[in-house]
Symmetry: C2
Subunit: 204 residues, 2 copies
């Protein structure tokens, strides 16, 4: 009776691989297709190992959701440069790959559908959403100020809600039916729309 030989992964690495495998499975097979066994296969280990790294499958899934939120927001929050450039990059990043692709929305939707069911996911969601919208709100405040149109918090809030909605909506359209749009079309529509909403040019 000889067992499989295996590799003993260093600190944290296996954990990360398991989370990545979880996300792969959810995006490919849906939440209910992402079984412990399937995830283990994807990660190249046996099913029992999951419980060595996580208290339960549910906890692993929750941590996977944290990773999704992080990957969706971190790029957008780290834009640099003058306000116009940051706003422009924020929009472009969110509407091009890898943020805008069918894998992203599959994951996002799978988790959103669980937010009502699972309080743990609900909290992760709310934190992520607020961080995202606050980042956008700040961005808009800076941009308006830099263009001689300083706006109070209430006005910024309304702009942030509208533009967040616009970007989210276009993101979804792009993810779900990317082939219906020409290369760069969504970004171009978003840019023109934001300019119309704010009454200011973004690109000089």
């Amino acid at each position: 009776m000889n067992r499989r030989s295996f590799y003993r992964a260093p600190e944290g690495e296996r954990r990360q691989e398991l989370i990545e495998a979880t996300l792969d499975c959810i995006s490919e097979f849906g939440l209910k297709g992402a079984t412990v066994r399937q995830i283990a296969v994807r990660a190249g280990v046996t099913a029992g190992l999951v419980r060595h790294y996580f208290e339960s499958k549910d906890q692993m899934v929750a941590e996977a959701y944290r990773a999704v939120i992080a990957s969706l927001t971190e790029k957008a929050k780290n834009v640099e440069g003058d306000p116009a450039t940051r706003l422009k990059d924020f929009i472009a990043i969110n509407l091009t790959e890898p943020v805008a692709d069918s894998r992203s929305i599959s994951l996002w939707a799978a988790f959103i559908s669980q937010v009502r069911v699972d309080p743990v996911l609900a909290e992760i969601h709310r934190d992520g959403y607020l961080a995202f919208r606050n980042a956008l709100q700040e961005l808009l405040g800076d941009f308006l100020a830099a263009n001689g149109r300083p706006a109070g918090p209430e006005e910024c809030r309304r702009y942030a809600i509208a533009i967040n909605g616009l970007v989210d909506g276009l993101w979804i359209e792009g993810c779900l039916a990317g082939d219906l749009f020409r290369e760069g079309e969504l970004v171009s529509i978003a840019m023109a729309s934001v300019e119309a909403l704010l009454g200011l040019r973004i690109e000089k």
Copy 2:
């Protein structure tokens, strides 16, 4: 051994109840929590009955998705009156209950997350999406024409994409965090945003 007494439902009624129960369960417990047994309990029948009305659970779920799409689009497509009124109503309907509530988005997200997995759902989705956007595109064409700004199909298309994105995005924001907005705030933001996008007043 006496069996439960029961009611023999007339033509089609039980079927409808089962679909409704399926949606209730999906929104409450998620796709994987919506088991045949749970759905049967919700519908007030026993599990075996499902297979009397549907070839499989999957088929029942697919029909349930058809019902969701229909309920999300039918109200929006049946707006009446002059172009401005229709556009206004279209926006308002999509951003107030019952279209905009947490049950709707739970259902929508649950199915969207399966679109990549299940080709049957993918087809239902695409048909529904195109019908929705085409309805909006036509609405916009009429509105622009009525306001002395007749637009070609390409221009209408771009407006439709942007406004569809905006409405979808705000719908999601409202569904997921309705308590973060004041009564009527989303509709008001949407109205103002669409006016800014089109450069035309909707309300006189």
